[in-house]
């Protein structure tokens, strides 16, 4: 089984400041890693994913995450946040196995609050 730990339940940050949302995972098998974002009163949307290859992955809106196998981490970063980035962010993991790749285990979420 897999598990995900998001240590920070809330992260307040000023607009244009950098931010890092931390995610650590545990698994006995190889994994896929994901970050999902949830805006108020909406469902979750995929932000970015690590499947294989380069350990640094990027989203279209400036977020990036780096897969660190030795530290079992997949932290999410953005060098300069915008008010519109205010949302709940969920890290998720699934086993790298046929039939289970879409069976995600989510972390408890980190609320990013961006203020002026």
């Amino acid at each position: 089984a897999q598990s995900v730990t998001q240590l920070d339940s809330q992260v307040p940050v000023f607009e244009e400041a950098p931010v890092e949302l931390r995610c650590n995972y545990s698994s006995s098998v190889s994994v896929y890693l994901f970050w999902y974002v949830q805006y108020p009163n909406q469902g979750l949307q995929l932000l970015l994913k690590y499947l294989s290859g380069s350990t640094l992955v990027e989203s279209i809106n400036g977020f990036e995450a780096e897969f660190n196998k030795s530290q079992t981490s997949f932290h999410l970063r953005k060098p300069s946040v915008h008010i519109s980035d205010t949302a709940e962010y969920f890290c998720a993991v699934s086993a790298r196995r046929t039939g289970t790749a879409s069976k995600l285990t989510f972390g408890t979420g980190t609320r990013l609050q961006v203020t002026l």
């Binding site: 896929y32 995929l46 994913k49 039939g99 879409s102």
Partner: protein, 114 residues
């Protein structure tokens, strides 16, 4: 409109009543999922389905029943609702031939059990 829709969006019921939350997707995705979202717990998988007539338990299945007679529908039934089942429920779907782990979520159904 194409996509994944949940109904009802909001529901208030009483302890002991049966409640069914509906989920419909128009993409013909093979996988469908039900998650519940609770403060401090994130999203927890209740049940999932790999195809019509194939369902399996997730992390927190007790008190819930699912069926999937058609690919596009995946209803979730609470046979006898309890206060602990007050939550926001999300349905999601995924294509087995698509990118692993890319789930498409509905907007959620907020259930309150009094």
């Amino acid at each position: 409109d194409a996509g994944i829709t949940q109904s009802p969006r909001y529901k208030i019921t009483e302890t002991g009543r049966q409640v069914t939350l509906m989920c419909h997707q128009t993409w013909s995705h093979s996988y469908m999922f039900w998650y519940r979202q609770d403060l401090g717990h994130g999203l927890r998988l209740i049940y999932y389905s790999a195809a019509a007539d194939i369902t399996d338990k997730g992390e927190v299945p007790d008190g819930y029943v699912v069926s999937r007679s058609k690919t596009e529908n995946f209803p979730l039934t609470l046979e006898s609702a309890t206060r602990s089942q007050t939550s926001v429920y999300f349905c999601a779907s995924s294509d087995s031939s698509g990118s692993p782990g890319e789930l498409f979520f509905g907007e959620g159904s907020r259930l309150t059990v009094l």
